[in-house]
């Protein structure tokens, strides 16, 4: 049992199929507040699909999604974000022509409900800009925040993915392979940045590098063929012979 608190995010019987292809079957998840969950599984296991379902970018065929105690199954994606459920993308989904400061300022402005102000200059919203800048500094993007996003080095673009998500002040953050495409020596930086996030934040991340998973996750969910195959602490997952067979291979993890 997870304790007396309501889980930050949970699903009940979540299912999705495209024609005869089942991409999510009867997913029952429960993320306690402040938890750091890793979602692992072979390619095509439905990891990104699950994030799409939970954030409302795909509609499930069956099941429910709860944010805290609220049923959010029918809400639009932006509505879920406003309630505190935010995601990042595996493939950079940024604003190429905006610089990092503008992009994060936009996200903060949306959260503060001032994005429809069309008469005052952006620069008059001091607190909004400073909040955006603080987020960028925290992710060590402060010195490149005036550069157009498309000109930023790839690793910094990955950090900007996270910065945009943080600007929405999430309660639950779903990170879809935050270090995808980043050389292994730099991926540590990105996860350090993730790990330094506030302890109240509930985190679920998809990641293929098992070193990273075992280092940062407090709990691991293994997804195979659209269903949850196993779930448990890193030690339990590492010891699970089935998981080792289908996913970790026979290679022993140190």
């Amino acid at each position: 049992m997870e304790g007396p608190l309501t889980p930050a995010l949970s699903t009940r019987g979540l299912a999705k199929s495209f024609g005869s292809l089942i991409v999510a079957r009867d997913i029952e998840l429960s993320l306690p507040q402040g938890a750091r969950y890793a979602l692992i599984g072979p390619n095509g296991a439905g990891k990104t699909t699950l994030i799409n379902l939970m954030t409302g970018m795909l509609a499930p065929n069956a099941g429910q999604i709860f944010l805290g105690e609220d049923d959010i199954t029918g809400l639009e994606p932006q509505e879920r974000v406003r309630r505190g459920l935010t995601r990042t993308f595996q493939i950079n989904t940024l604003f190429p022509g905006l610089n990092a400061l503008e992009a994060v300022t936009l996200a903060v402005a949306e959260r503060r409900g001032i994005a429809r102000q069309f008469w005052q200059n952006v620069s008059t919203y001091k607190e909004t800009i400073e909040e955006a800048h603080d987020i960028l500094v925290k992710l060590r993007l402060g010195d490149s925040c005036y550069q157009a996003t498309r000109e930023l080095p790839y690793g910094r673009q990955r950090l900007l993915e996270i910065a945009l998500a943080l600007a929405t002040k999430p309660k639950v953050l779903l990170l879809d392979e935050p270090a995808a495409g980043v050389p292994p020596e730099e991926s540590g930086d990105i996860f350090e940045a993730v790990a330094s996030l506030s302890g109240d934040l509930t985190l679920l991340f998809i990641e293929h590098d098992m070193h990273v998973v075992f280092r940062f996750a407090s709990h691991i969910i293994v997804l195979v063929g659209g269903g949850i195959y196993a779930e448990g602490s890193p030690a339990e997952i590492a010891a699970n012979p089935g998981v080792r067979e289908v996913y970790l291979g026979t290679r022993k993890h140190d």
Binding site: T55, G56, M57, E76, P77, Q78, V81, R82, T86, R87, F89, T93, L94, F95, P96, G97, L98, L101, E102, A103, T105, L106, A107, A109, E110, R111, I114, A115, R116, Q117, F118, W119, Q120, N121, V122, S123, Y125, K126, T128, I129, E130, A132, H133, C145, Y146, L164, A165, A167, T168
Partner: protein, 329 residues
């Protein structure tokens, strides 16, 4: 831009982006030149100012929010007929005519925005075009109201501010059109430097990301579409007030398509692109149709092809690139 970035606060940096540049002031001073340099061409100058305003309205949705429309003349026409009909039936006061035109166009714009905001890409182009064609045919068949192919007759515009008579040479017409263009431009400039302007650029840059940062892009699009419709309506009203006639071609597909050409020529997403594009297009048409009355579109075609190949971001985009290269040396 030679920013000493470390010395700036983020706030000052954003403020800096929206400052008035000397070239802008020079541009607006230059718009007064026709009074001295080409007083015989004031009616053309006035047409250019009106078309520039119309192009500015399209730039707000296309250049800033990425919504391609091939039916924007619908709102221009609605504005033109609103002001024209008001005048024909006894109310020829120009400024309230503009307000009425803006209001009517905004209502139609808002009503259609519910559909517009749901579509993208090709579907959107077809929808706006279909809507434009539909309205054009409605105006054509409602001859009792619009005068059909003969155009709306019997418009009489009162003196501007009760004093300036709309003369044959276009002195008042140009001053009036230019003043309205300038005022609308000031508003549009404020808008694009506001948080809402930033949100529009967000939609243009990546509409998929917008919901993921909690943005209701559809509502944003509805809002800018309505504003853009109102401004196009003002442009239409200016035309009917200054020429004291409205014809069906104010609603035509050609007008929508030409508008898109002007914006592409000038450079979309730069506020001045529509203004420069309208000036280039109208002057080119005036000159080419003088040389070759039948085939002048040929030369417009050549101009378009050349600009798109060599300056993909329009004449202003091309100039900005050359300037940047020159500065970088």
């Amino acid at each position: 831009m030679a920013l000493t970035e470390t010395a700036r606060t983020p706030q000052l940096y954003l403020q800096h982006l929206s400052r008035w540049r000397p070239i802008e002031i020079a541009f607006w001073l230059a718009t007064l030149l026709p009074y001295w340099l080409t007083p015989d061409y004031l009616s053309l100058a006035s047409q250019i100012a009106i078309t520039a305003l119309f192009a500015l309205s399209l730039d707000l949705i296309l250049g800033y929010a990425g919504i391609v429309s091939l039916g924007h003349a619908a709102f221009f026409g609605i504005g033109a007929y609103t002001a024209g009909l008001l005048s024909k039936y006894g109310w020829g006061e120009p400024l309230t005519g503009l307000a009425a035109a803006a209001f009517t166009a905004a209502i139609v714009g808002y009503a259609t925005s519910f559909i517009i905001a749901r579509f993208r890409h090709l579907a959107l182009i077809m929808l706006t075009m279909g809507f434009g064609l539909l309205l054009g045919e409605l105006a054509n068949s409602a001859g009792w109201l619009t005068g059909g192919v003969d155009g709306l007759q019997g418009i009489h515009t009162w003196n501007l501010l009760g004093y300036f008579h709309f003369d044959l040479y276009g002195y008042t017409a140009y001053g009036y059109s230019l003043a309205v263009l300038f005022v609308v431009f000031l508003g549009a400039r404020r808008l694009i430097h506001s948080p809402f302007g930033l949100a529009l650029r967000g939609i243009r840059e990546n509409r998929t990301r917008m919901p993921a940062i909690g943005a209701a892009s559809r509502t944003h699009i509805q809002m800018i579409y309505t504003i853009s419709a109102a401004l196009a309506g003002i442009a239409g009203a200016l035309l009917s007030e200054t020429t004291q006639t409205v014809s069906l071609d104010s609603l035509s597909f050609e007008r929508s398509a030409e508008l898109l050409v002007m914006l592409v020529l000038g450079g979309a997403g730069r506020l001045y692109g529509g203004l420069v594009g309208a000036a280039i297009f109208m002057v080119a048409r005036d000159q080419f149709s003088g040389i070759e009355p039948q085939y002048w579109y040929f030369w417009i075609g050549v101009l378009l092809v050349v600009v798109v190949i060599f300056m993909p971001n329009g004449v202003l985009g091309g100039l900005a690139k050359i300037y940047a290269r020159w500065r970088g040396r």
